[in-house]
């Protein structure tokens, strides 16, 4: 059933009765499983939650280019170099789709980047982890992209239309990255003993970032029960309940974390790699693998914003942005001049500059 869309967003100083009516209409959209579109009215809390999630996701794609990007010049075969270039390129593309989706909520990419650079918006703390060897690029693709696929697949059905459509494109490409990552780990495991040691070392270091940070804090009371994380879990549970009610999420962090562990344990066995958690074993009764609950607060603090790598990631981004300022200014000046010359209101090419517009992918993904 198609719900009529007679409402525009931002009711401003609508009387309370009209607010109630708008909310009722929004609730009907969510309940009917239809997507919410940019021109639909939406509650402020919904808009804020979405924006926070989409921006964090976009930032994570852009920051996530760094650990792998650092190995582009050192890839040990031309085939692997090509694959890695294509992957990092995909991540830049995902960042663009997602910034475009965020822009449909009435913000500007330049402002989002500014918030990232100033530490006002976050990115996945997973990437506050250094990529120390070539095998790390394989472990990142296999484990963190593997976690991302499980985390993100349900987002292809998220309630906000532009986000859902962006995610469908993202997920298709992420699935390919995971296969490439697995293939790379397989090559290392079938190589010399030194190569296999490098692969195991990378898995030892990337397991926790993938299993903990890619899924966010525990958000079921059971996960935090009795532990020091009980408060985190209770808070996470309330946020997740709201996100699920609004159709932004469909599963709790802990459900998705379990799904990831269940999928990756047999893969590790096939590769002959050991996941660094002695508690991993099949639980016949639950029909899932058991694993050690993450000591979330301790772990999160260890990768906090003031650590070497967190600062380094942002410093790298800021340096690129600041070094490129004169280029974006030139592109904007040129575009403005061309627009005057041709009598059209042209858009520039310097997407990060904001004032000159994006790449037009908003329309594509919306």
């Amino acid at each position: 059933m198609r719900v009529p869309r007679q409402y525009v967003r931002d009711p401003g100083d609508e009387p309370p009765a009209a607010q109630d009516e708008l909310l009722a209409h929004f609730d009907t959209l969510i309940a009917s499983g239809e997507t919410v579109e940019p021109r639909d009215w939406m509650p402020d809390g919904y808009r804020r939650m979405l924006l926070r999630q989409i921006a964090q996701h976009a930032h994570s794609e852009i920051i996530g280019m760094q650990p792998e990007g650092a190995w582009l010049t050192r890839a040990p075969s031309l085939h692997r170099k090509s694959v890695l270039i294509a992957k990092v390129q995909d991540e830049a593309g995902h960042g663009l789709y997602l910034y475009s989706a965020a822009e449909t909520l009435g913000v500007d990419r330049a402002d989002l980047l500014d918030a990232l650079h100033r530490g006002r918006q976050r990115f996945a703390a997973t990437f506050n982890h250094p990529a120390l060897t070539w095998a790390d690029t394989g472990a990142i693709a296999w484990l963190t992209d593997g976690a991302a696929v499980i985390n993100q697949a349900p987002l292809c059905r998220t309630s906000y239309g532009p986000y859902a459509r962006a995610m469908r494109r993202v997920c298709q490409e992420e699935a390919f990255h995971v296969r490439q990552g697995y293939d790379m780990m397989r090559a290392l495991c079938e190589g010399t003993p030194e190569q296999k040691r490098m692969a195991q070392d990378a898995v030892d270091r990337w397991w926790l970032p993938a299993v903990a940070l890619m899924f966010g804090p525990p958000d079921t009371e059971a996960a935090g029960a009795g532990g020091s994380d009980a408060r985190t879990a209770a808070l996470g549970a309330s946020v997740s309940r709201r996100a699920i009610a609004w159709g932004i999420k469909h599963h709790t962090n802990d459900e998705l974390r379990q799904r990831f562990v269940d999928s990756v344990v047999p893969q590790a066995e096939r590769l002959g790699l050991t996941l660094p958690d002695p508690a991993i074993r099949w639980n016949e009764e639950r029909g899932h693998y058991d694993f050690t609950p993450v000591d979330w607060e301790t772990y999160r603090d260890a990768l906090g914003d003031d650590t070497h790598w967190a600062r380094q990631r942002i410093a790298h981004r800021r340096a690129a942005h600041e070094d490129g300022a004169w280029v974006r200014e030139a592109a904007a000046a040129y575009a403005a001049r061309e627009a005057v010359r041709s009598g059209t209101g042209g858009t520039g090419d310097a997407g990060d500059a904001g004032s000159t517009g994006g790449t037009g992918s908003t329309e594509e993904s919306a």
Binding site: M65, R74, D349, G351
Partner: protein, 266 residues
């Protein structure tokens, strides 16, 4: 190009193979080294769109290098693979033109380097597609010319934007052109290897394309409000393995993982 060796080949055919191997290695090294330089930009570009564009171009260049190095290794009698050639040669054995190894500099230097290279490469790959007897190599030339034509468009557009953008961008773009122009002549150099190959009709020489290259780049540069440099000094030596001091670290980085794991499979 002779690739089957059932009967003992005539000495001329052997020499042609050896000459062609040398020539294809030069072209392959140009693409590999320039691709490596562009990889250094990724995550550091002025916009996310440019991170995307530069990685796209780098990917095409690495693809060209793979084809060219593979063909070269097949012809030179050593049976070396693309990876053997990329990862086990010493610095002095690389034969790329010096232009392609110039450090990235600021974005304008990179655009200037791209402008010079892409206009040259489109012309040469088109010549290869039209004037090469070997079907495989001609087919490669046709494909590569189409891809590099997009890279050329990217370079043309940025030359224009920077030249006509702001006073600062115009100053930097002119400085970029001035920086790379002494290194452009080497692209068109013709030595005995090329003269023999061209005389035998195996592959064309790049030398005859130079006037058209000059005409085309001059048009782009002057329409961007900039001046075509007229350098007195012209760099040479890359084809003989005589590189810049900045080249050593590029090769060391390229080969580092491969060399740390002798006998590895990737």
């Amino acid at each position: 190009m002779t690739t089957t060796r059932d009967a003992a080949p005539a000495p001329e055919a052997l020499r042609t193979d050896a000459d062609l191997a040398v020539h294809l290695l030069r072209l392959g090294d140009d693409a590999l080294v320039l691709g490596q330089r562009l990889c250094q930009w990724i995550t550091r570009a002025p916009t996310i769109e440019e991170d995307l564009a530069l990685s796209n171009i780098a990917l095409d260049l690495v693809g060209h290098a793979r084809t060219l190095l593979t063909l070269s290794g097949r012809l030179d009698g050593t049976g070396r693979t693309e990876d053997d050639l990329a990862f086990t040669r010493a610095d002095r054995e690389f034969t790329n033109a010096l232009l392609t190894e110039l450090p990235n500099g600021d974005f304008a230097v990179t655009v200037a380097r791209q402008l010079a290279y892409t206009h040259y490469a489109v012309l040469y790959y088109e010549a290869l597609a039209a004037g090469c007897a070997d079907a495989e190599l001609a087919g490669f030339g046709a494909r590569a010319a189409k891809e590099v034509a997009f890279h050329r468009l990217h370079a043309d557009n940025w030359t224009r934007r920077l030249g006509l953008g702001t006073p600062e961008s115009a100053r930097r773009m002119q400085a970029g052109l001035d920086r790379v122009w002494p290194y452009t002549a080497e692209l068109f150099d013709e030595d005995d290897v090329l003269r023999r190959l061209a005389a035998a009709g195996t592959v064309p020489s790049p030398a005859p394309s130079r006037p058209l290259w000059e005409q085309r780049v001059s048009e782009v540069v002057t329409r961007a409000g900039l001046t075509v440099p007229e350098p007195r000094w012209q760099a040479r030596g890359g084809r003989a393995g005589l590189h810049t001091e900045e080249f050593g670290p590029l090769v060391a980085e390229l080969q580092s993982v491969r060399r740390q794991f002798p006998g590895g499979t990737w």
